[in-house]
């Protein structure tokens, strides 16, 4: 399995959000780091087919991002996703399963398993409007995993989770990376340090760093801050 992003760009009015990014992703966990406004979410939205690039192409195993088959291998957790307040947690998963093309029995079985996985089995029959922020986030993770995706795009997946849950999901994501491509974006550098096979750093719409990260290389946080800091320092010097 291979996700190919080829010279993808996106511009909003006079600001370039994503600037000619090219990368090939294969099985494993990819941690995407970058400041706010670096273009991470825009890139992820383009990978998920909900935002069209101005130029460039995105494909998965030869399937274009616009195809229904492409969407069938995709699991996506947006940074700030919505829900239907009148639906219960179980309803929401069954609805998302229907959207992903799962049959009714498959959907029911999968929803039960996932509710258990994200520790929401006791709240499954409660309306989502009664859920806490962390519970909603866990439900979001569960829906992304429906349909056994080959490409999992997670935008800030551990936001709002308590430390114990965060560690659990970190491990879960690491396990998922053995079976599929996981692209995750987060501000919590330690999450990426623990689970990402490859680190990607974005700045001003460009991919400024892309390499594997091993324990022997020291602290990723220091490296990241240094990377961003150097650029900031340069910026200050020029301005």
């Amino acid at each position: 399995m291979e996700l190919v992003i080829d010279r993808v760009s996106k511009q909003y009015k006079n600001r370039i959000a994503v600037d000619r990014i090219s990368i090939k992703l294969r099985k494993g966990v990819y941690g995407l780091l970058g400041e706010n406004g670096a273009g991470k979410t825009t890139l992820m939205r383009m990978i998920c087919g909900i935002l069209k690039p101005d130029s460039g192409t995105i494909s998965f195993d030869g399937m274009d991002v616009g195809e229904e088959d492409y969407r069938a291998v995709l699991g996506y957790l947006p940074q700030d996703f919505g829900y239907y307040p009148e639906f219960t947690g179980q309803d929401f998963l069954l609805y998302m399963a229907a959207l992903k093309g799962l049959s009714k029995p498959q959907a029911k079985q999968k929803a039960e398993k996932l509710l258990q996985l994200v520790s929401l089995q006791d709240a499954a029959a409660k309306k989502i409007k009664t859920y806490s922020g962390g519970m909603k986030q866990r439900l979001g993770i569960a829906q992304a995993l429906l349909g056994q995706p080959d490409l999992l795009v997670l935008d800030e997946p551990t936001a709002g989770l308590d430390p114990k849950e965060r560690v659990r999901f970190r491990n879960l994501i690491r396990d998922l990376g053995k079976e599929c491509i996981v692209l995750l974006s987060t501000h919590i550098v330690s999450d990426i340090e623990h689970i990402a096979d490859t680190v990607l750093i974005m700045k001003d719409g460009q991919l400024v760093y892309q390499d594997q990260w091993t324990d022997g290389r020291g602290s990723l946080e220091d490296f990241y801050l240094q990377h961003i800091g150097e650029d900031n320092k340069q910026k200050h010097t020029f301005s």
Binding site: G49, I50, E68, L74, P78, D80, A98, G101, S103
Partner: protein, 412 residues
């Protein structure tokens, strides 16, 4: 992966069900439905409490007056409006001392002698175009003259409407199909259902606009569009399911309010008179249909009007990305149809205006005289307009599909 593609279910029915749940899960929908039910119920029951006055004198409730007239009407049911009945009617009416100062219905002669024939008298007056004063003072009952006067009156109406010679010939042929002399049937129930049709149509279209203007936009405002649009069935099947759910809701609202009016009317006014000619309800029409058929056609038209309106509202909301603007435009058009009347001399414009969904559900438009000519055949409004609406609804839905599919999630 290809195996996954093969195994994917269509899930239209499941998604349709969820979309219906989303619509019915909104408090706004239930409040709107309750408001609609309240409007209908008050309208239906108001004759029970409203007073009937002649020259300031209280005669009883409107409903009591109706019941008295219904008893008279029932006695006339089944009789042909021929020379004999016309003579009886006019003899009774000529006994009224006619003076311009006192309304003839306030006289004792009217109440005792003429009132039992009021249904026939009104029919003669409405179907021939003869003025009330002329009828009472100078008209000599003559069956042939009555039907001849009707032909002259209709011809003058058709000319005023700007009908072509072909259209006039078409309607004349339809007029010949209507059996004369007319056979009178008491038809109070159908008359009430007919007169309620504009209210039902207005409330149904208004509720459709209120309840469906958020069906697409709420996915964007709630930010669920990100999940929906990146799912395999989110761009095609879900669009169809949403449109189908919206149409079903509009149909449900039509059935609900129609049933409310029909059941209430049958309880209060009975259901005799299905076979009575439409001309007893709408004298200007030459359509060879019965009162019962006319009511069914009119409410069927409201259903189709609601369907096209639902599709229009849903697609407009996706185009504008704003449910308030959608609601403002939809309700504005509805209000405009009530406020604006296009003069008959602008034939094409007048025809288009009266055939637009927000005007057409009124019975006088459904059974109006404008036609559509196709390959030498003329089609009446109730034949042509539903087909135009259904084709237009399909076209509007087709236009909205790429707009929905190409939606870009940006900003936020």
């Amino acid at each position: 992966m290809r195996e996954k593609t093969k195994k994917r279910s269509n899930n239209f029915r499941i998604l349709y069900w969820y979309e219906c749940r989303k619509i019915l899960g909104k408090k706004l929908v239930w409040f709107s439905l309750l408001a609609g039910i309240a409007i209908m119920t008050i309208g239906l029951l108001s004759p029970l409490f409203g007073g009937y006055y002649i020259d300031g004198k209280y005669m009883g409730t409107t409903y009591e007056m109706y019941l008295a007239d219904r008893d008279y009407a029932k006695e006339l049911s089944g009789r042909k409006i021929d020379q004999t009945l016309l003579e009886e009617t006019m003899a009774a009416y000529k006994s009224i001392p006619y003076t311009p100062e006192i309304h003839y219905t306030a006289t004792e002669e009217y109440q005792k002698i003429a009132r039992p024939y009021s249904e026939i008298f009104n029919f003669v007056r409405q179907t021939s175009g003869i003025q009330t004063s002329e009828l009472i003072l100078s008209w000599q009952p003559d069956e042939k003259d009555l039907y001849a006067k009707r032909q002259i009156w209709l011809m003058s109406l058709w000319k005023d409407l700007g009908l072509s010679q072909g259209e006039m010939d078409f309607w004349r042929a339809r007029e010949e199909q209507v059996e004369t002399p007319y056979v009178y049937e008491e038809h109070g129930g159908y008359s009430t259902m007919f007169s309620f049709a504009p209210t039902v149509g207005f409330v149904v279209l208004m509720l459709t606009a209120i309840c469906l203007s958020g069906i697409f936009t709420e996915e964007h405002t709630r930010k669920t569009d990100q999940l929906v649009l990146c799912s395999p069935l989110g761009k095609t099947t879900l669009y169809q399911a949403k449109i189908a759910a919206g149409i079903s809701f509009a149909a449900f609202v039509t059935v609900l309010f129609s049933a409310l009016i029909w059941i209430g009317t049958i309880c209060l006014y009975g259901m005799e008179g299905f076979q009575a000619a439409l001309q007893f309800l709408y004298a200007q029409s030459s359509a060879p249909v019965t009162c019962g058929q006319a009511v069914l056609i009119t409410y069927g038209i409201i259903m189709i009007t609601a369907i096209i309106t639902s599709v229009f509202v849903m697609v407009l909301s996706e185009l504008l990305q704003n449910n308030i603007a959608t609601l403002a435009i939809s309700s504005g058009l509805l209000m405009l149809s009530m406020a604006v009347v296009v003069p008959e001399q602008y034939r094409v414009l007048a025809q288009i205006w009266t055939w637009l969904p927000w005007s057409f559900f009124e019975p006088w438009n459904v059974f109006g005289s404008y036609t559509v000519s196709l390959l030498g055949h003329y089609f009446t409004p109730w034949q042509a307009v539903p087909v135009i609406y259904l084709v237009s609804a399909a076209a509007i839905a087709a236009v909205g599909k790429p707009v929905y599919q190409r939606y870009q999630v940006s900003g936020r």
